[in-house]
Amino acid sequence: MSDTSSPSTSLSRRRMLGLLAGSAAALSLSRAALADPPPPPQVLEIFLAGGLSHRETLWVYKETPDDQVFPHLGTTSTALPAFFQAGSSPGVDGGGTQVYLGPGARVIAGATAGTALHRARLVLTGHDLAPHGPASGLMVCGLPDGRDRQASLAAAVNANAGGHASIVLMGDRTSVQGQVFTRTGRYGAKYRPLVVSMASLRAKTLLTSSATSPRAQLDVVHAHADRFERALTWSGTRVRSHAADAYKASLADAREGRAAVSTLLGGVSTGQGANLTQDAILSAATLLKAGKVRHAAVVDGGSLSAGYDAHNDSADQSGAASAHATTANLHLDNVLQAVHASKVLDEGVLVLVYSEFGRWRPPGYGLSGSGHWPYSFPVLLLGADVTRGVTGSLDRTREPAGTPSGHVSPAGIRAVLAHYLGLGAPDPTTFGIWPDEAHPNSTFASLQTAVLGSPS
């Protein structure tokens, strides 16, 4: 594990305020800023649905120490030497390999990127689910499908904060993956986050439509709903019913929470960015900065061309040039440019960028290009209290079989973020996110360090 952060430049605004509190310097700051408690931590997570080819984007390294260029990056390589010389590395991995962020992260790592790189961390994770669907469920929720307490961070925030403290915004071509965020285990239907498709803001239109139900009408509906609830009560105990829970929560939103939902949707709009994914990120930033939500998730399917789910054109182990490198980096650049423009990093929002798995070509792989590689791939954390560095080492071959060293499980990453957001201990009768299985022998402090880096 490496930590090359610079304390003087890696502090978030919130953290700086905290350090300065009580000192003479603090007195020069806004009295209002010091009088109010620090804003609650916020997280923006960006899910790159489809399987980002990490070796071409977030985890670029030289095949040999003498390499001057990165041939597998293909057509993008012409501009690479200057980019990499400018210092696009968050550090070295656990195996001593210098790791660079690819050109898709130029807004974070480039010479003009300011200090963002000082609060950038790559954390290696892994699992063993290669199909998109189960892998998405695991990465978004930290627990595999079917588990009682499986829930997205969005749902966990809602469960903790009540109401709609989270929102999920879907860019293009990601409707199926967006559904993963609504998972709420066996008991949490009422905690489902509001999921909004940027391609069709029907919910927003509907909420303001005169065709939807007035309050008096909903009161009649509510009277019937009460009777239905009584029918679900046996000997004084209301039995489990996911469908009735979901209906009841939606009815409550439509009846009592209409204003809150309307406010939430009011922060969502298109036309701010170059495409729907950028619109989603900018909308999420608006809601976060205004304090309307504690957490926002954006689902991006690769808005510019063929998406992240590329096989034949992505890099293989031979080092041959990858045509996919160009488009993969364009996708990532599209996302990170919007993050940069939204200024959420300046506001102390912690940003998580990840995919359901990476891509790799293991020995014996029968096709050209590379395939799904869930066993070892990075997630990117930015901003807030994140310190620059790399956690774990990349397992290039997965031989001999075993868990690659230093990796943090998806559950572990979720647990740290849940703790960062101040979520309480999980309720075993509902759901929660906690590293009870992933890291039974680790202390939580060491897990925090692995994910966020060592506090300065």
Partner: protein
């Protein structure tokens, strides 16, 4: 009784894994509550009013609930509703973006009179794909003849019975055995259609859907749909991914090769082995003759990549590309499969579907058993047709997978103690080697036993062996436990088994709201597996939708009882609705309660239910996006999709969720209760114009009866109702007062949003408070109980049933 069914009913009952063992202590809600739930399940609409409920409840009381179902199956809504449901099940693309405007005609505008339904089913079941449909040919396999009568007829020259150059070739077979008795005779018939093009009658999928439901032969639907899928592949070939291949895997097999390395019928693995070893489990199909379990995936797919998954070290991403081009074809002649109309299999440029094949790669060459590059959709269609035809002559082999019980005595004749010691009822999660080995071919045996499939470890212990040693272990296992049984020559029947399970699972899900399988196509727990296999056995007897519906609706799983009996454990149901309850968070969670059975009705049932209650037009499920000027939402494919209908592979619908966005969509569609199309007065207009005039309260009761089949206004409801109406409930309705109509429509909109309307699985109507002889307000059709009795009495007479429900 048909020839096919009569053969089956003579079969000995072979051991079955499927005791329909629903809790005997599940309280029965009574006939009225059952009717209120069964009518929407069968017809997609509510009972028209409490009078229809009472009439049907009386019939149920006097003649049994099966009699009620028989009457409901004769209603026109039965075929209409299930057509819409089946279109979703077939994953018919409704996206106008995919240039499928012409497809709407194919699936919604029939060409053939419904009198020919039986003939059409017979044609699809028995004719080759290069023949046309001659509706003048007698549907000889679907007549009401019994076996003896049919045998006598076959002594006559076939040409004397069949017309227009067609003939039937019959032969006597001695195939069926009654329990302990002598062989019974049955008949195999092959229809050889005429060649006179003047007699060819084009038909569309709309005809096939209706015929498959009314003439009760869902197999015909799935035979006919194959070339339609092929046409889709041709028309959408610009699409980067093979949609037709994915659709075929989903609609015919319910298998995704991406999942089968870890989850197949013989083997299923989770990634939580270290923590929860009991979670690795499977409930495979059982070979009823040998008692062995059958590897259906291995039997269906000749390719190991497809059978056992594409994400292992060898498979890579191949699965995606192996399905590309599936069901493709080349133009070249004027051949239209089965004589189908060009709106279904061609948009104008379609010309042929050659047999010499240059079509898609691995997937369907594997299915068709032909070398790579030498199989076409025609081969796959023939494979299915042959497999389906074979069921009529290979009953005993068919029973290798399914054990059809005698009609009407299914539950009584199934003895759970006879068999299934290791398959269905085993508590061990990994099947015994003596059971598994004979069902696997060597390659699969090596993969599972020695190497461990996929990336998830080895179910029979960890062995580190050289390649030579691995082969040796396989040889030893073979020596100890026997040679391969049943594969791959049983591919036909494996295809049919998977298809039957897919269809039966879809029917269950439409009625009960919860699927019996997870996304990988396998049941989650033993109870789900038992129900799925049992329903599949029922289905494959005669591919009858009605038989499966009977089995579900007459079982104790379909008892929408509100928990008024405090002595009954609320969690008394088998965990088929909420399957994860076998991982109890609390001790009481091991089973299900009625709460788990509660589900949102399907979009088709909701739309039809609202439309028929209010006398609105039922929205065309494949309507274009534009809709009408007055209410574009009502017929918008996008609205239907937002409410849960399948639109395309990329937009499969929201299932049965009821989140805020869904509720807002529904509210936008229904909250004003405005007639969606200008078609004349609706039911609210009827109430406004009633003579003598109704009070607002009386009109509200009529509306509630129409929409919820409930004629009571509870005390706690009255204040909210009065506030909504803006006037006393005793106020007389004044047709000249727009506010009165607005008030009634607002109440109507409220009722359409209630859980009683949107959710199924629990009936909370207290029949003790309902009037014994309601006098509803109607304009057309049967209205009071006597009228409904007469209506259903007439239907019973047409069925030659001596049923009655009125005083007379």
């Amino acid at each position: 009784m048909t020839a096919r069914l009569s053969t089956l009913t003579l079969l000995a009952l072979l051991p079955s894994c499927a005791p329909w063992g629903w809790s005997t202590d599940s309280p029965d809600p009574g006939d009225a509550a059952w009717v209120r739930s069964a009518v929407p399940a069968v017809l997609g609409r509510r009972a028209a009013n409490s009078s229809e409920v009472l009439a049907l409840a009386t019939i149920a009381e006097r003649h049994g609930r099966q009699a009620v179902l028989e009457l409901l199956y004769e209603q026109p809504e039965f075929a209409a509703h299930w057509s819409a449901v089946l279109i979703d099940d077939l994953m018919v693309d409704r996206s106008t973006a995919n240039k499928w405007r012409e497809h709407r005609r194919c699936f919604t505008e029939p060409l053939v009179d419904d009198h020919h339904d039986a003939a059409l089913v017979s044609h699809l079941r028995n004719a080759r794909a290069d023949t046309c449909f001659d509706r003048q040919v007698e549907p000889i396999l679907r007549t009401s003849l019994d076996v003896d009568e049919l045998s006598r007829q076959l002594q006559e020259p076939p040409s004397s019975r069949l017309q227009n150059g067609s003939e039937a070739v019959g032969s006597m077979l001695e195939i069926a055995y009654s329990p302990g008795g002598a062989p019974s005779q049955s008949v195999e018939l092959e229809v050889v259609p005429g060649t006179n093009p003047e007699h060819c009658t084009p038909f569309r999928m709309a005809d096939v859907l209706r015929a498959a439901i009314r003439a009760d032969g869902l197999d015909a639907l799935y035979v006919a749909y194959l070339p339609v899928l092929a046409t889709q592949a041709y028309r959408t070939r610009f699409h980067p991914v093979s949609e037709s291949g994915q659709k075929f895997l989903a609609t015919y097999l319910n298998r995704d090769p991406a999942c089968t390395s870890c989850h197949s019928g013989m083997y299923s693995k989770t990634n939580t082995t270290k923590l929860h070893p009991d979670w690795d489990r499977t409930w495979p199909a059982e070979h009823a003759l040998t008692g062995l379990m059958v590897d259906l995936e291995d039997a269906v797919f000749s390719s190991p990549v497809l059978a056992h998954g594409g994400y292992g070290p060898e498979g890579g991403a191949g699965v995606v590309f192996n399905t590309r081009g599936f069901l493709g074809y080349q133009p070249g002649s004027d051949f239209l499969p089965y004589g189908m109309d060009a709106d279904c299999v061609d948009a104008g440029s379609y010309t042929s579907m050659p047999r010499d094949g240059t079509g898609g790669p691995l997937l369907y060459t594997a299915l068709a058993g032909r070398p790579y590059g030498q199989a076409t959709v025609h081969d796959v269609a023939e494979q299915y047709a042959a497999a389906l035809r074979s069921l009529s002559t290979m009953r005993l082999q068919q029973s290798a997978y399914f054990s059809p019980p005698a009609s009407g005595t299914r539950t009584a004749n199934l003895d759970p103690a006879v068999h299934c010691e290791q398959a269905c009822h085993s508590t061990s999660r990994t099947p015994d080697l003596s059971v598994v080995v004979p069902t696997l071919r060597d390659a699969r045996l090596k993969q599972i036993i020695v190497e461990g499939p996929g990336e998830m470890g080895k179910p029979y212990g960890s062995l580190t062996l050289s390649p030579t040693d691995k082969d040796e272990v396989v040889a030893m296992l073979r020596q100890d436990y026997g040679a391969t049984v049943g594969v791959p020559e049983d591919r036909d029947h494996a295809l049919i088994s998977l298809l039957a399970m897919r269809i039966a699972g879809n029917i269950w899900e439409e009625v009960q709201g919860a699927p019996l399988t997870l996304s990988h196509g396998q049941p989650r727990n033993e109870d789900q597996a038992t129900v799925l296999q049992h329903l599949s056995r029922i289905l494959v007897v005669d591919w009858s939708l009605r038989d499966v519906l009977d089995e579900i609706l007459l079982s104790s799983s379909f008892r929408p009882t509100a928990p008024r009996d405090a002595t009954v454990d609320p969690y008394h149901l088998e965990p088929v609705f909420e399957p994860y309850s076998d991982q109890p968070v609390q001790a009481s969670d091991e089973r299900n309660s009625r709460g788990d059975a509660v589900h949102r009705r399907s979009v088709h049932a909701l739309l039809r239910g609202a439309a028929q209650a209010l006398e609105w037009p039922v929205p065309d499920p494949i309507e274009e996006q534009s809709g009408s000027a007055t209410s574009p939402r009502w017929q918008s494919a996008w609205t239907h999709h937002a409410l849960g209908a399948f639109l395309s592979l990329g937009a499969p619908g929201v299932g049965r969720d009821t989140d805020l966005r869904w509720l807002l969509e529904w509210q936008a569609l229904t909250s004003t209760c405005a007639p969606p199309l200008v078609t004349g007065p609706d039911y609210v207009d009827t109430l406004m114009q009633a003579t003598p005039a109704l009070t607002l309260g009386e009109a509200a009761v009529e509306l509630k009866d129409r929409i919820l089949n409930d004629r009571t206004l509870a005390e706690e409801e009255r204040p909210a109702l009065q506030a909504l109406l803006g006037a006393s409930l005793d106020t007389l309705v004044d047709p000249a007062q727009p506010s009165h109509e607005d008030a009634l429509r607002a109440y109507c909109g409220a009722l359409l949003q209630t859980p009683q309307f949107l959710l199924a699985g629990l009936d909370d109507v207290d029949d003790a408070t309902q009037p014994e002889a309601p006098t509803p307000v109607c304009t057309a059709g049967p209205c009071d109980t006597d009228a409904w009795c007469t209506y259903y009495g007439d239907a019973a007479a047409r069925l030659e049933r001596p049923w009655s429900c009125g005083e007379s």
